[in-house]
């Protein structure tokens, strides 16, 4: 068979082409075949609340984080109903400015930003502050000098000087309690250092902890030695910044300015995401691209982030298809609808597995109940399927609203289910129920779910995601595998079980007048026929003539 030969050549060519493409990408772009360790991306949300003054326009300036070591900002956005937003610079510091003509009632504004923890990032936008000439009145000036004297004698450079100042302040004495009644601790440290001609400034820091809400910023003191600086914690005197501390303001200016409002307050919530390092690298590359420095030029990476995520789901689809083909052809699992399980598993990717399973099962069950009622009405197919679609949409709507009301925000995600596909599934299962009974429905429904979960697990795996996103050659390999499986003529795993009783019977019993297993007799005949067609056919013809003659005699 020539076509079969061509088929194998094409399949092999696809496989090799895919493999070569992967190797090429691996070698030229240095993309690792396996995802490296994970990176952390912190999502920080600042919530600003204030009460607007009556009949005035409101302008809110909120300081946003500047460039700093250890963190790279990936993206930022705001949400604030009816406000104009702009990013502005005030005295060299970055602010977001919200404006509204006439706000009424308690106002809530959100600023959200993603930060990638990146130990290699070491740029900083912090500037050396000017030393304020202090005109301190008595008895404070004397008290400060006292601390300066103590610190000076015990230190060797600006940094150790700062540590000593903090230590002195933290000692409970009359001097310190006098000073602390006038200044906050961090302001005091800055003032005292300035008196000693050491540049210093108060910066605010957010401690990043996963899943925290209602957090506020913490003051720290930045102490400068020429252009380099160190951060100090004024309560402990510890120096340096921890990997989970994000500098929010690195300038002396205010965090929040509200014009046209009162009782303003800021709180922060924090969320940590772990992403594969390669993915983080891609995010980073796209940020750098946005800022004009083109370092990577790989096909998918060059797309904007949002388009990338769409593209990624498309790239994952063949993985799901491969799993379905494998489970159906090699294992022999029955599913309802050929690729319905893949679409369900795509929905699982959006909803997370547990929510997805609960959502799917409840939608299908309710749908089946409604559909069984519809079948009493003897509707035509199109009307019936439309009714089921509307029912499915209603069920999805109810589930998302109900769960949201109860406080399960996850419930809203059931809207990710492919509604048309679900409706057809319900239709098909209900026909199956009528024709074959509930057992078959359980077998096929369970089979579909099992396949969907398998496909989900594969598509959700970090390694598989990494490979599919980075190596387009994989798609060719998947294609060749699917082609090969489409030509698999061996037994399905389920058939090994199905034919077990038959195998036992054939082995133990001969049929009728047979003296050996039929397959043996026939295989011998095939061999004879192939080796010597003419003679064998002649022999058979003679046998037949004899038989006919014999039967003819018997008939008479």
């Amino acid at each position: 068979m020539a076509s079969r030969g061509v088929f194998y050549v094409v399949t092999l060519a696809l496989f090799i082409a895919g493999l070569l493409l992967i190797i090429y990408q691996h070698l030229t772009f240095q993309i690792p075949v396996f995802p490296g360790k994970k990176s952390e991306v912190w999502t920080v949300e600042a919530k600003i609340e204030f009460e607007p003054s009556a009949n005035t326009a409101a302008t809110i300036d909120f300081a946003i984080p500047a460039i700093q070591p250890n963190f790279t900002q990936l993206k930022q956005n705001t949400s604030s109903l009816g406000y104009g937003t702009s990013y502005i610079q005030k005295q060299g510091a970055n602010y977001i400015q919200w404006t509204k003509r006439n706000p009424i009632g308690l106002q809530t504004l959100y600023y959200r930003a993603d930060f990638l923890y990146d130990a290699n990032a070491n740029n900083s936008s912090m500037t050396v502050p000017e030393i304020e000439e202090s005109v301190e009145g008595e008895p404070y000036a004397t008290a400060m000098d006292e601390i300066n004297d103590a610190a000076y004698s015990k230190s060797s450079n600006p940094y150790s000087y700062a540590v000593q100042v903090i230590n002195e302040i933290n000692k409970k004495s009359e001097t310190t309690s006098l000073l602390l009644s006038k200044y906050t601790k961090s302001d005091l440290v800055v003032k005292i250092l300035n008196r000693a001609s050491i540049p210093a400034r108060v910066v605010t820091v957010l401690e990043l902890e996963d899943g925290r809400r209602n957090r506020s910023l913490k003051n720290m003191v930045a102490v400068f030695d020429n252009t380099s600086y160190e951060l100090y914690d004024t309560t402990t005197g510890n120096s340096g910044i921890n990997s989970n501390q994000l500098i929010w303001t690195n300038h002396g200016s205010s965090l929040l300015d509200v014009q046209g409002g009162t009782n303003a307050r800021v709180s922060f919530s924090i969320l940590k995401n772990s992403v594969a390092t390669s993915e983080a690298g891609m995010l980073l590359a796209s940020v750098e691209k946005a800022s004009g420095s083109d370092i990577v030029s790989l096909s998918i990476d060059s797309l904007p982030i949002e388009e990338q995520s769409v593209f990624k789901t498309i790239l994952l689809l063949p993985i799901g298809v491969l799993i379905v083909v494998f489970l159906r052809i090699i294992i022999g699992i029955k599913t309802s609808g050929t690729f319905m399980p893949v679409l369900i598993s795509m929905a699982f990717l959006q909803t997370s597995l547990v929510v997805g399973l609960i959502g799917f099962i409840s939608i299908v069950c309710i749908g089946l109940i409604v559909r069984s009622w519809l079948s009493y009405l003897n509707l035509l197919l199109i009307a019936r399927i439309s009714a089921v679609i509307i029912t499915v949409i209603a069920i999805i709507g109810c589930i998302s609203v109900l769960t949201y009301k109860i406080g399960l925000t996850e419930g809203i995600k059931v809207t990710f289910f492919p509604m048309i596909i679900l409706s057809w599934t319900i239709e098909r299962m209900s026909i199956l129920w009528e024709e074959e009974g509930y057992k078959e429905v359980l077998v096929q429904g369970g089979g579909s779910l099992f396949v969907a979960v398998c496909a989900y697990l594969a598509m959700n795996s970090l390694i598989i995601q990494h490979i599919t996103f980075n190596f387009l050659g994989l798609q060719l390999i998947i294609l060749s595998l699917v082609l090969i499986m489409g030509n698999y003529t061996g037994f399905r795993l389920s058939e090994l079980k199905r034919f077990k009783p038959l195998a036992v019977q054939i082995k133990e019993n001969l049929n009728g007048d047979n003296t050996e297993i039929e397959a043996k007799t026939l295989n011998q005949k095939i061999k004879d026929l192939k080796n010597n067609p003419q003679a064998t056919l002649k022999k058979w013809q003679e046998e037949q003539n004899q038989n006919n003659a014999k039967n003819g005699k018997e008939d008479k």
Partner: protein, 329 residues
């Protein structure tokens, strides 16, 4: 230890694929790739999925089928049903694209607008018309597609099979490969199968020897049985009469449909002998269990025949009877 247990458990529940292969048992993938998609052209499928089309080509090729009384295609025909029936006394109404016996209405006696069903129940003209409307609306066809109804003569089933089947009438399934009858089985309905002849619902499958028409063995739910579970009849005594005629009829379905690998369903009428009831382009694999033999060696022997395309129907039937027999006489 538990590993050994697991392995022996696996061995008890799953067959060894190489053994299955040596017995020539055909699996689903094998059937789909090497037989259905190779020998059955896609465009010919509607011929067998639509009973009206099957009937038309059967008449064209002089293949015996129950006589077609009329066709009901629209509501107008439903109203005119009495004139379409042309005074027939016994007939059968079925959806053209139905399956599994759904929507089949058997009328054994019609008189003065009273219709007596096979079960003895009496129907009015109005009841029959409603049934026809349901068929047209697609209530019985696959996926609920609109359909048409066929009305054909009632088959008067041959009494040789009395007692072999519970309620329903047995039909004979013959697998035909390029005109050669390859394997055959009879499906007997049981109480468990609800009078339907579907093996997976609990009907009994009886393998039939191609040479003689005698029962080879019987299985229910994949396990061998000796007696019919409801009627207690000894299934080994079953023998299909007019056997050569049955095979000839089955074989002629290849020329008629052009499909290389088909299942033909044949019934025996006491007046007209074997008649074709329907064709199936995707015949199932359970026939192997009923015959205690694999399909593949038989199919391969036919494929190895160099002159198979030039053989006549009777030569093909002779060949099959010579080589695929289980009993010598």
């Amino acid at each position: 230890m538990s590993v050994l247990n697991f392995l022996s458990n696996l061995k008890n529940r799953y067959a060894n694929p190489w053994q299955l292969q040596s017995f020539g048992i055909m699996g689903m993938n094998q059937r789909n790739v090497n037989f259905i998609s190779r020998f059955n052209q896609r465009k010919l499928f509607p011929l067998v999925d639509n009973k009206l089309k099957t009937k038309k080509i059967a008449i064209e090729h002089k293949v015996k089928t129950p006589n077609l009384i009329g066709v009901v295609e629209n509501q107008q025909d439903v109203k005119n049903i009495i004139s379409i029936l042309k005074g027939s006394k016994a007939f059968c109404i079925k959806p053209s694209r139905g399956s599994g016996g759904k929507g089949i209405l058997v009328i054994t006696h019609a008189e003065h607008e009273h219709f007596i069903k096979g079960s003895g129940q009496v129907m009015s003209t109005h009841d029959v018309q409603r049934h026809l409307s349901n068929i047209l609306a697609g209530l019985f066809s696959l996926g609920g597609k609109p359909d048409i109804a066929l009305i054909e003569d009632l088959i008067h089933f041959d009494h040789v099979f009395d007692g072999y089947s519970y309620e329903g009438v047995p039909d004979t399934r013959v697998i035909v490969f390029e005109g050669f009858p390859v394997m055959s089985m009879m499906r007997l309905s049981t109480q468990a199968s609800d009078g339907k002849a579907n093996l997976h619902q609990g009907a009994v499958g009886v393998g039939i020897c191609i040479r003689t028409g005698r029962a080879v063995r019987a299985v229910q739910h994949n396990e061998p049985v000796k007696y019919h579970p409801d009627t207690e009849k000894d299934l080994a005594t079953l023998k299909v009469p007019h056997w050569t005629e049955v095979l000839t009829l089955a074989s002629s379905c290849y020329n008629m449909s052009g499909l290389g690998y088909i299942g033909t369903d044949i019934v025996l009428d006491e007046r007209f002998g074997p008649m074709l009831l329907e064709l199936n382009a995707r015949p199932g694999l359970a026939i192997q269990t009923a015959n205690n033999a694999g399909l593949l060696p038989r199919l391969k022997l036919i494929l190895a025949l160099p002159n198979r395309h030039s053989m006549s129907i009777s030569q093909k039937v002779q060949f099959s009877m010579q080589h695929f027999g289980v009993f010598n006489s």
